[in-house]
Symmetry: C2
Subunit: 543 residues, 2 copies
């Protein structure tokens, strides 16, 4: 039997597009002699459909689209992920299901048992866990069809009380099929391979694993679908960050794939972010981006990534100098735009700033220049960028990084604006790495941008290091708190200064209100700000 | 035996404050002869602690604070809600627990079985469901101690497969204790009473129910804790929207409470919003608010509510007229500030707008006046209000209503700014009702503000009705889509115009990106924008 793994880029709620893509993949697979095509989890709706799942209308459209895909299944079968209604009188109203399509019809529907409800996952919000297990017989083979998390419960400290594959093994299946929605972070591909291999090592069956590829707002799916023989050898690895379809003859599986050199973290982040920007614009139907180019490193890296994603000609750089901008800032910003060949314009903000100052003078009661005036500058820039966005239909790209977002070193309604945050899950030390990676072949980002000390340039001679510790130290503390969920005592025990740790953690917690209002952030780490990190605002923990 | 229900206003993560409040309540209850004090669910941490639950440090602090409260339990017992560690090797790492405190110690810990994971609830994100049931014996009575949702699974179409009280009944308890975190919406108090009565009707036991009171950012807890005798008669109903403590002798329960007239929806919303604003400021340690007062109804209602919550002298109204503002707008806004006795200032935005226009002229390429220029005005106002907020430490109150937030009729980084959205869960038709309710005794909001046609005043002679249908119709369609999760066909079948329904639903979905970046919204309905409604941004459903 020949099994095709179809790794596609779906669009949430775009049933026509999703179903047509799948029908086309079925046709391609058939031409390559496949007997079965495996699509991803909730492929028909796109993942994650979130609260659209609460609409009967949405669920019915999912079923109808699956019926359309089934019609294409003549002389070939398919496994398709979709939400289905729970007909029992108790439990949540839906199942997260895998439909087995054959002879033009939906022949069987199997449900997911283990529902990830942590980090960015909310599956128990919608779905009832399955407790009823059966295999599917097809062309003389017995298939154990499983959905994502169902084969991730293998260790000694398990998150769930049951192991679905243990249940299915009672029926003596000969193949494991897993349809998945496993989003990217920079360690996830390795983890995925380990877990798949652990399944084969335990159950001694060949395994075919189909993942999503493509960006769904903040969630980035890197693809990398997998095939294993029953000896635990990896015999197939689909492409990363692009659609792919590969066919495997399960009775004559290819030799083990020689492990390529493991990609570097920074290269993975780079590819993920480029895909994230590209898909955000494509799926929303936009072509052109605008951003404020300061001459600093964050906006430079965003500009370079966006140019790769959208084409340099579609990225409009706006230089917004003030009286506090240094000469090199304008020069460095211009240098980057010229290196890329992107359009750029200069709009000075001094006269606008002065008009604000003039109107506010009687109300500010002679109080000294402080954060209020600094923020007026950042917000005046925000207004200008949004004006160009509104006038020309550009999407504003946000340029904040994870370090400054963590400690609130940014202006709400100013430089924190944008439709999408490109670097909001990238610590400053990694932004520098990204810049060097972008420059790996030639100078795209002026080296001066990378080498000079970071500054917000909102008052004379300001430097980030006036208010913040060295990024090496700051980022290390933040990583322990955000990614590793360590408390103050545990972080101090790692050797960091006590007063500094307490100050940083307090900054993170008291700036929750700012992060609440920031754009969606492309997720590349195990713990990104946004849907996967949910914090109270009016709280008093460590603050 | 005498049971005290302690209904307190907790502060999330503020262990010292929470534990001291509880120790004080224990002392008060003891003075009134109580044998047992019942506190709310997760009282020790405040509800909802959200991802703070992922920090071991946080969980340890919860335990220590509970031990401190236990020390006060001499000659009296208490039931306290807290998160505890799951010591089993499988399952989530925490339980949502009720500790039984007596003789200075934590004597027993019982766990919640049914974990709400829908709307604003995320409990299965953190907690393992309990499957092991036992009662607690105290002073010759056997107590069935349950946590919130554990007694809500009574109907024919149940959300969960087990009924914890059915399990506990096997041990023949004599009293039901329920510790809860049941947030307000304008129908919730009635629902709560129905469910409590249904439990007593089924199990024939007296029931003592302790709820939270107070606001936790967007979530508003209205209190209204309850006591029932074993005949299903309500014998105790604690105050709404304020702390309360009442003691009941379970062997001599008082007579049934005569049902007062059911409070009107608009009065409930009013009281909830006032509490929401008040607690937001109190718990963050702020005193003063600022808002833009346009002369229109939304900002007028916010101003009146904030004055009730914070004192009129602490609410700074800023009038920000442009060349498109009508004379009556300024007059109406001034009238309101004078009626309330609040400070107000006028800052015209025309010269700032012109300075933006001047700088943008070469970049706008002679394109006609459109949404870009309208938004510049709204954003210039946003900058001015935030400047005053930053200079004087005021919190900016957002004045958007649910109708405009739904269809995206507002400017991101402009009038959508603010630390807290007061009316974001109140449809425009209810904003009018609120205004009339505020004026029920005397004219506080000038009647002209209430009676004139709504306008954003961003271009000459603009009216809301130029772009939007009548609010009566718009709000009815939105209610079906947002609160009732009806799809287009179902809404059209109710008699609404097909083209209009499709247009409105498309507006709601395509404006998800704007709502993603708005302030937290005080929740008063069954489905508010914010943490309880989670939608994809880059999606194509009904859009």
């Amino acid at each position: 039997m020949k099994i095709a793994i179809a790794q596609l880029n779906y669009h949430i709620g775009n049933f026509e597009s999703n179903q047509n893509k799948m029908i086309e993949a079925i046709s391609t697979a058939k031409n390559q002699g496949a007997d079965l095509v495996v699509f991803a989890e909730l492929a028909i709706s796109g993942y994650p459909p979130r609260d659209f799942l609460e609409f009967d209308d949405f669920i019915e459209r999912c079923w109808k689209a699956t019926e359309e895909v089934a019609k294409a299944c003549i002389d070939i079968a398919a496994v398709v992920g979709l939400p289905t209604k729970n007909s029992n009188s108790t439990g949540k109203r839906l199942f997260n299901s895998a439909a087995f399509l054959i002879e033009g019809k939906i022949q069987d529907v199997l449900h997911k048992s283990l529902l990830p409800t942590y980090d960015i996952f909310d599956e128990y919000r919608y779905f009832e866990p399955n407790t009823d297990f059966h295999c599917v017989d097809y062309k003389g083979k017995r298939l154990a069809i499983t959905v994502c998390e169902d084969i991730w419960n293998l260790g000694v400290e398990d998150l769930y009380r049951i192991k679905p594959m243990d249940e299915l093994m009672k029926e003596n299946p000969e193949v494991i099929i897993n349809i998945a929605a496993s989003p990217f972070h920079y360690e996830q591909a390795e983890r995925r391979k380990r877990i798949m291999k652990a399944n084969v090592d335990k159950y001694r069956l060949p395994l075919f694993y189909a993942n999503h590829v493509g960006a769904q707002t903040e969630l980035l799916f890197d693809g990398g679908s997998l095939a294993f023989d029953n000896q635990g050898k990896m015999v197939g690895e689909l492409n990363y960050f692009e659609e792919d379809l590969q066919v495997f003859d399960i009775d004559h599986l290819p030799k083990e794939i020689k492990q390529k050199e493991k990609p570097k973290k920074i290269a993975l982040i780079h590819d993920a972010l480029v895909m994230g920007v590209k898909n955000y614009f494509q799926k929303l139907g936009f072509k052109k981006a605008v951003l404020g180019l300061s001459g600093g490193i964050d906006s430079a890296v965003v500009m370079a990534l966006a140019s790769e994603a959208l084409g340099a000609e579609n990225v409009h750089a706006i230089l917004l100098p003030s009286q506090f901008s240094s000469d090199h800032s304008i020069k460095d910003a211009e240098g980057l735009a010229k290196n890329l060949g992107s359009p750029y314009e200069i709009i000075p903000i001094q006269s606008i700033f002065e008009s604000f100052e003039k109107e506010l003078k009687p109300h500010f009661k002679n109080l000294p220049f402080n954060i209020a005036e600094e923020n007026i500058q950042a917000r005046a820039r925000g207004v200008l960028l949004m004006a160009l966005s509104n006038k020309f239909g550009y999407i504003l790209l946000n340029t904040s990084n994870k370090s400054e977002s963590a400690v609130g070193y940014g202006t709400l309604y100013g430089d924190m604006n944008g439709g999408l945050s490109v670097l909001g899950d990238v610590y400053k030390v990694d932004v520098f790495e990204l810049a060097r990676y972008i420059n790996r072949k030639e100078e795209i980002i002026p080296w001066n941008t990378i080498n000079k000390p970071p500054s917000a340039e909102l008052r004379p001679d300001q430097k980030d290091s006036d208010s913040l510790p060295d990024y090496e130290i700051l980022d290390a503390i933040l990583f322990q708190y955000i990614e590793n969920r360590k408390g103050p005592k545990e972080i101090i025990a790692l050797g960091f200064d006590e007063a500094l740790v307490n100050r940083v953690l307090k900054l993170v917690n008291t700036n929750e209100y700012k992060r609440y209002q920031t754009p969606p952030i492309l997720r590349v780490s195990t713990k990104a700000f946004g849907m996967g990190r949910r914090m109270p605002i009016v709280a008093k923990y460590l603050s």
